[in-house]
Subunit: 211 residues, 3 copies
C-alpha cells in the first residue's frame, strides 16, 4: 500500500510534524533542565530532540531532510525551547510535564514517521517500524547527549505502544478510514496508552537468561 | 577497481548480508540479556545491531538503505531476536556465545561493507575502511544503547582484524579470485582471527602519553 | 542567498576542510590518549572525530559524503592520527593542546559546514546551525566513543561562539566580502573567542528550574 502524496495528506503531515517538533523540543528542554547546561546547550538538546528522529527517518529513506528547506520546523523548535526556558524560570514546572511532552512526541512523530514511509513506498511492516524509529530516536539522542540511559529501554511500554499504534494507523488507512481521523485516533491512542502505562506502571515481562 | 554488480555478485551480497543480519541481531539479544530490558527493548536493540552498521554504510554511500525495500532483512532480524529470546529461556546460554555471534557479525558485515563500497566506485582504502565501519558500528550502537563502553575499543584486535580482513578481500578480488571464494576466505579469516585473539588474549600495544 | 560553487569557493572549501580534518583528528588522538586504547582504537576515534561532523552534514544535506570519492581527506585524518601518536611518545604533550586542536576543529568545520549549506541553497538560519552541527558533532562522536560527557555541553561558550561565528560569516558574505577573507575572519573569530572563553572561564548563565 503506497500512499499518494495528495494535498490533504501533505497538509496533515505538515501539521502533525509541526506539533511533533514543538512537543519533542519541549521534552528536550525539560530533561536538560535537571542538568547544569547553559542556554545554548539547552537549545541544542531541544533541537536534537525535536529534529533528530525525523532527520534519521529522512536519511534512512533517502529523502530531503524535512527541516532543511522549510525553516518553519527549525524555528518552531527554537521557539519551543526558548518559551519553556523562560516559563520554567517564572513558574514551577512539575517533573511529570517531561513525561507528558515526551509521550506527545512519541505519538506525533510515530504517526508522521509511518505516514512518510508509506508515502515513499515502504512495505507496511517496515513503515510501522520506521514510525517507532521516528518516534523514539529523538528521545534517544536527547538522553545520550544528557549522558543518561535512554528512556526507551527503561520506561513502561514505550516502544511497544509506539509500534502497536503505528500498526493500527496502517490498518485504519488500509480499511479506508479518512487520513486525518486515522492520524488523530492512532496518535491519541499512543499518547493515552503511554500515559496509562506510566500511571499504572504496566510493564512487559523482563528478559532474563536461564541460569 | 569498481566492481560491476553482476547477478553473481548481487547473489553473494544478498546471502552474506542475510547471514550478517542474523548473527548480529543474535549478538544484540545476547548482550541485552544481561540488562533488565523487556521484550520490545530487546527486539529494538537486536534490530539496531543487525541493521545499524549497514544502514550507516548506505547513508554514507548515498544509496538505498538495504532493509527498506526488501522486508526479508528486517524479518530475519526480528526472527533471530525472537528465536534467541525463547531459546535463552529454555536452555542455558554460555556468555561466550555472545562473543562468537559478535565475531561472526564483524566478519560478515565487514565483507558486505567492502563489497558494496567497491560496487559504488569507492577507492580501495576507503572501501576497506567502510568494511570496518559496517562491521563494527552495529556493535557500537548496541553497546551505546546498553549504556556500556563499545566492545570495539576494549577487546583484543577487534577493528584490526576487520581492517586487515577487508584489505585481504580487496587484494583477492584484485588478483582475480572468484568472488564467492574471496568472500568466504576473508570472512572466515576475520572470524577465526578474532576468536583466536580473544582466546589467546592477543592485543596491540596500548596508546600512552609520554609523561 | 545561495552561493554558486565557483572554482574560488570550491578551492577555499577544499583547503578549509583539509585543515579541519587534520586538526579534528589530532583532537581525537589527544582525547583518546588519556584512555587505555590500542593503536587501532585511537585511529578509529581520530577518524570518527575528523570525518564525523562533515559526514553528518553531508547526509543531512543529501549530498555525496566528502571523503568517499576523494581519498585525500581520509589519508589526512590517518596521517594526522599517526603523527600525533608518534609525537606523543617522543615528547610530553601538555593537556591544553587538546583544547587548542578542538577549538581549531570547531572553527574550521563551522565555516566549512556553513559554506556547504549555503551552496546547496539552505536558508541562512539553517546554514548557520548546520555550521554548528558540522563544527561540534565530530567532537560529540569522539566523546561518546570515549564514554565521556560531550565537551560541547560542559565547556564555556562552545556552541555559542560557533553559532555566532557562522552568523557573522553569512553576514560578511551577504555584504559582499571576499570569500577567503570572510572565512579567515570568521574562523579566527571562533578560534580565538573559544580560547579566550576557556582562559577567562567565561560562561553563559546555567539553566535551572524554579523550585
Amino acid at each position: 500500500m503506497t500512499l499518494n502524496p495528495t494535498p490533504l495528506l501533505l497538509d496533515n503531515l505538515y501539521w502533525i510534524t509541526l506539533l511533533a517538533v514543538i512537543v519533542s523540543s519541549a521534552s528536550g528542554v525539560l530533561k536538560a533542565g535537571f542538568k547544569q547546561y547553559d542556554l545554548f546547550g539547552v537549545i541544542i538538546i531541544a533541537i536534537a530532540t525535536g529534529l533528530g528522529g525525523g532527520s534519521l527517518r529522512d536519511m534512512l529513506l533517502d529523502r530531503d531532510t524535512f527541516w532543511i528547506r522549510d525553516q518553519v520546523f527549525f524555528m518552531a523548535s527554537l521557539a519551543s525551547a526558548i518559551v519553556i526556558f523562560i516559563a520554567s524560570r517564572l513558574v514551577v514546572v512539575p517533573p511529570r510535564f517531561f513525561l507528558v511532552a515526551d509521550a506527545a512526541g512519541l505519538a506525533t512523530f510515530g504517526v508522521a514517521g509511518t505516514l512518510v514511509s508509506l508515502m515513499v513506498g515502504a512495505p507496511p511492516l517496515i513503515a510501522s517500524f520506521m514510525g517507532v524509529i521516528t518516534g523514539t530516536m529523538g528521545g534517544v539522542f536527547r538522553d545520550l547527549l544528557c549522558n543518561e540511559p535512554p528512556v526507551v529501554f527503561l520506561s513502561p511500554l514505550y516502544a511497544t505502544v509506539s509500534w502497536v499504534g503505528s500498526l493500527f494507523f496502517i490498518g485504519f488507512l488500509h480499511f479506508g478510514l479518512d487520513i486525518t481521523l486515522a492520524a488523530v485516533i492512532a496518535g491519541l491512542g499512543i499518547f493515552i496508552s503511554r500515559l496509562l502505562a506510566i500511571y499504572y506502571n504496566i510493564t512487559l515481562p523482563k528478559f532474563r537468561f536461564k541460569s
